[in-house]
């Protein structure tokens, strides 16, 4: 067989010697080199690295990190926490000494609450005094012991009485108070909190109609000779006027695109009047029924005005009206007749001189037309109608006049600024603070990672749980889907059933968006399970209760000893009620949706292992499950590790969808932050960066595991 031999020899010459090592692929970039380096580390070093990342994250979310942030930026405002409210309970410290009189068997919580019962409601104080000043946040009273300032939150009871034109107020209030507000300054000893935000308005002086001083608070001229008295004024203002292009017009709303590029939404009840082009149209009674014929002339009259000329120009520009009118049978002409006077226009239309008329003028009504129609009751005008422009026209809007009360903060030739609500501050000594209530939820942002923790952990927890479940589903379905030789199943029918059932699952689930599956899990499956308890067969209940009774006996004995109560296993539930919470719904939905993809990966992995492996294992006397377990699956898992890792990362990202089940995951927290601060850019940046950090970290781990599981040779 000379031919074949030569060929084999040629092949050999071109191949590498069999024992030569295959050259390693060169690592291309620093990332690849890092992965290669990390993959060669021992397992404990990699675990240490993962722990280090977690520790680093904990440090970043700690109070220390925020102190550094505060130090670096030298501003307490940078912390997101301060963008929201700080809640402090300020009062005198009370040492609690009490005697406990409770019952044995009470929990520690009950004991402490019992002890604190009297202290939890701080002593109430009753006082009476004349009202000096009142703001939305507090009262100032003149009492026999001097002026007292009471935050309204602390007042439990209040009674008012008028005596000689003065208001006598009897109040019962708590001595500790709760300060809620935005922290504006902090040092070691005190904290300055803005409890009421300032509200002010700036408007042009041209709008001012009249001004009246309502109240004057004299300032301390002795301390500050140059100071000016604080005056509270009420200013009558002319309503604003806007000019622009009408966008929408309805009975309640009006929106216009302003000439300077902005836009305004206005409520009709704030509008005093508006002018917009309106079109009155009428026909001569003869013209309504007339058919235009070839060579005919249609005479249309209009009143000379800029609006009308513009309108006609725009009509011809848009090519809606062709003069002369062109008909399929021939040509007819339109003659546009200009009138100087509306009355003449109407009269000529009524007597048939004109076939029709157009009258365009500003304002929603056309009183001139109405007046003419009223004074000519015999005139015969057909289809007389006035139509207000709905959009695209020039419009001028005048708002109703209003008034504003407050302190004039700034005034110059053009503008005036009136402060309607004065800001109020509370100075709190750090030492007086009894309790700080943190408002962390909803403040998830990059500079306040602690607020994100709950979301991150929820996202990770749901992903890990769902992925674990998806792996189980995928492995079972994947093995079911592998069509091997008849060795797999004893009966042909079983094999057909398993393969079709698994194929059905994979194809159906892969064809439905994950979002829809999640919504099914949350709003279809879960309510169904909740409303339909599963009835157990009586035999099972009896047997299970017997088993539980045996198991409970020693527990009950222990409980009866009175050393410590550990409870018992109870009885077997019948019927079983499955009540899933939101998180379980999300886990089930994600796992069910991803099980199909994981199954396909496993199927491909198992099928990628050559048939010879199974045959070799079976020829050694292994059963099918043994061969699967010891030979095929270990190799298949090596093959499927990279795609499984990719799927895991994909699932981490897709877990953002669970926010539709009202779960406070990372995305939901970010959205909450945005809805409170209206900082969409910052909020979504935080969410994106955190997801990115998680996926980068995980994909690095996946790459390392992948490299480590690579076979030598």
């Amino acid at each position: 067989m000379p031919d074949e031999r030569t060929r084999t020899e040629q092949q050999n010459a071109s191949m590498l010697p069999p024992d030569a090592p295959i050259p390693e692929m060169e690592a291309r970039g620093p990332y690849e080199r890092f992965i290669n380096w990390a993959a060669d580390l021992p397992w404990w070093a990699i675990i240490l690295g993962v722990v280090a990342v977690i520790v680093l994250y904990s440090m970043l979310t700690s109070a220390a990190y925020r102190r550094v942030l505060r130090y670096l930026t030298d501003s307490p405002e940078t912390s997101t926490e301060n963008l929201y409210k700080a809640v402090l309970v300020v009062g005198e410290r009370v040492e609690i000494v009490g005697e406990y009189a409770g019952e044995t068997g009470d929990t520690v919580v009950t004991v402490i609450n019992q002890l604190l019962k009297n202290e939890a409601n701080p002593t109430l104080v009753s006082k009476a005094g004349f009202l000096v000043n009142e703001t939305p946040a507090r009262l100032t009273l003149q009492t026999d012991s001097g002026l007292i300032l009471l935050p309204k939150d602390n007042i439990v009871e209040e009674e008012r009485e008028e005596i000689d034109g003065k208001v006598l107020v009897r109040v019962t209030y708590t001595q500790s108070r709760t300060v809620i507000g935005t922290i504006t300054a902090i040092n070691d000893k005190t904290m300055r909190i803005r409890t009421v935000d300032e509200e002010k308005e700036t408007f042009p002086t041209s709008r001012v109609l009249s001004r009246e001083v309502v109240e004057t608070t004299p300032c301390d001229h002795e301390a500050e000779p140059d100071c000016q008295d604080t005056q509270i004024v009420t200013i009558q203002r002319r309503g604003e006027t806007f000019t622009g292009t009408l966008t929408t017009l309805s009975n309640t709303n009006l929106s216009i695109a302003l000439d300077d590029g902005g836009s305004r939404e206005l409520k009709m009840r704030d509008v005093e009047y508006f002018t917009v082009a309106a079109l009155t149209r009428a026909f001569s009674p003869d013209a309504v029924e007339r058919t235009v014929t070839d060579g005919d002339t249609v005479r249309i009259g209009y009143e000379e005005s800029d609006v009308a000329e513009d309108f006609l120009a725009s009509l011809s520009e848009k090519d809606r009206v062709r003069v002369p009118l062109v008909y399929s049978e021939g040509e007819a002409e339109v003659e546009l007749v200009r009138y100087d006077d509306v009355d003449a226009l109407l009269a000529d239309t009524a007597n048939g001189e004109l076939d029709g008329m157009l009258y365009i003028a500003p304002g929603p009504q056309h009183p001139q037309v109405d007046a003419w129609v009223e004074s000519h009751p015999d005139a015969n005008l057909a289809e007389l109608a006035t139509q207000v422009c709905q959009s695209g026209c020039r419009i001028t809007v005048k708002l109703v006049d209003d008034e504003i009360t407050g302190r004039v903060a700034a005034e110059d030739k053009d503008t005036i600024t009136v402060v309607t609500t004065e800001p109020e501050y509370a100075e709190v000594a750090q030492a007086d603070i009894l309790e700080r209530r943190k408002m962390e939820p909803g403040t998830c942002a990059l500079n306040n990672l602690r607020g994100c923790n709950a979301g991150i952990f929820l996202t990770l927890r749901v992903t890990f749980q769902a992925y674990g479940l998806a792996l189980i589903i995928g492995l079972i379905v994947g093995i079911m889907r592998v069509q091997t030789n008849p060795m797999t199943f004893r009966s042909k029918l079983m094999q057909t059933f398993f393969t079709s059932a698994s194929t059905l699952y994979v194809e159906v689930v892969r064809g439905i968006p994950l979002l829809v599956i999640l919504l099914y899990a949350g709003f279809v499956v879960s309510p169904y399970l909740r409303d339909h308890p599963i009835n157990m067969p009586d035999v099972l209940v009896v047997v299970m209760n017997a088993i539980l009774a045996v198991l409970n006996a020693p527990l009950k004995l222990w409980n009866s000893l009175g050393i410590a109560y550990i409870g018992d296993l109870g009885t077997f539930p019948d019927p079983i009620r499955v009540n899933l919470n939101d998180e379980q719904e999300a886990v089930l939905g994600l796992a069910f949706g991803y099980g199909a993809f994981v199954a396909e990966i496993f199927r491909a992995g198992i099928q990628s292992i050559s048939r010879g492996q199974m045959e070799a294992a079976r020829s050694l006397g292994m059963s099918y499950p043994q061969a699967m377990r010891y030979v095929v699956l270990p190799q298949a898992i090596r093959t499927v590790l990279p795609p499984l890792g990719n799927d895991f990362i994909a699932m981490l990202k897709d877990s953002a969808l669970i926010s539709v089940l009202a779960l406070p995951d990372l995305l939901q927290l970010g959205r909450l932050y945005i809805s409170r601060t209206f900082r969409a850019f910052e909020g979504y940046n935080s969410v994106a960066v955190l997801y990115l950090l998680m996926t980068l970290f995980l994909s690095m781990l996946v790459r390392i595991i992948e490299r480590r599981s690579r076979l030598p040779g």
Partner: protein
């Protein structure tokens, strides 16, 4: 070998068909054959003649359509525990089929532990002994991917031997090897034959046939055409078909 009365493998009028998308292939058409204990039988024949199918039927990697195969006194059809029969029949494949994720040593240990339930120490001792026997004791901790084809096939033989089989089936053990490695595998097989192992070998290695085979069987189109001692079959075949085939391969 005629002093032993009972044949260890009895093949009785076996038929086997493969149903593929492109039609039905009648791979075996009434094959009957006996193999005595300690006998070395060589099966030759052109491609597609059913040699490998016959071999795979003997340890039931393929089920037969009709006829009967009795291995070591146990009829394969309806055998309760086919795995028990398989454990007694070692098989060596053309493509080696070593487990690539296990070292040479672990390849040999695995089935001993799983099927024979041997202790770890016992299995390892056996594995090392067999590796030494096939001449590569130093490759114990090497993965198959790092071995040459000849070395892999020798590990595969050792893996089959570790089960202490009564019969060894070789399915073209040298066909996927480079010529320079064929000898090392054949040496191991010759050694086995000398020790009295019952072997059924599908191969075209004339050297091995002449040195070790007791009988040679020529198959064509799913039937046994001729069987005779190898020197007679190869040098003086009685059938025209055999002559034609031999004229092509020699």
């Amino acid at each position: 070998m005629s002093e032993k009365k009972e044949p260890i493998i009895q093949v009785r009028n076996v038929h086997k068909q493969f149903h593929t998308l492109h039609g039905t292939v009648h791979a075996l058409r009434g094959v009957s054959m006996d193999v005595m204990p300690g006998e070395v039988v060589l099966i030759v024949g052109p491609s597609g003649s059913g040699k490998s199918t016959l071999l795979r039927c003997i340890n039931r990697l393929e089920a037969v359509d009709s006829g009967e195969i009795i291995v070591d006194g146990i009829p394969l059809k309806g055998a309760r525990n086919i795995n028990k029969v398989r454990a007694e029949v070692g098989m060596v494949f053309q493509q080696f089929n070593l487990f690539p994720d296990r070292t040479a040593l672990d390849n040999i240990i695995l089935a001993q532990r799983v099927v024979r339930k041997r202790s770890k120490a016992e299995a390892e001792e056996k594995a090392r002994y067999l590796l030494a026997k096939v001449g590569i004791p130093e490759k114990a901790d090497v993965y198959p991917g790092q071995l040459s084809g000849g070395q892999q096939q020798r590990v595969a033989i050792a893996r089959a031997l570790a089960m202490d089989p009564k019969i060894m089936l070789f399915d073209e053990p040298t066909s996927a090897l480079d010529p320079e490695m064929i000898k090392e595998v054949l040496d191991v097989m010759l050694e086995l034959a000398r020790e009295g192992m019952t072997m059924v070998v599908v191969s075209h290695e004339m050297g091995f046939a002449k040195a070790a085979a007791d009988r040679a069987v020529f198959m064509d189109a799913g039937q046994i055409v001729e069987e005779a001692p190898p020197e007679i079959l190869f040098e003086n075949p009685s059938h025209e078909r055999t002559k034609l085939f031999l004229s092509k391969i020699l």
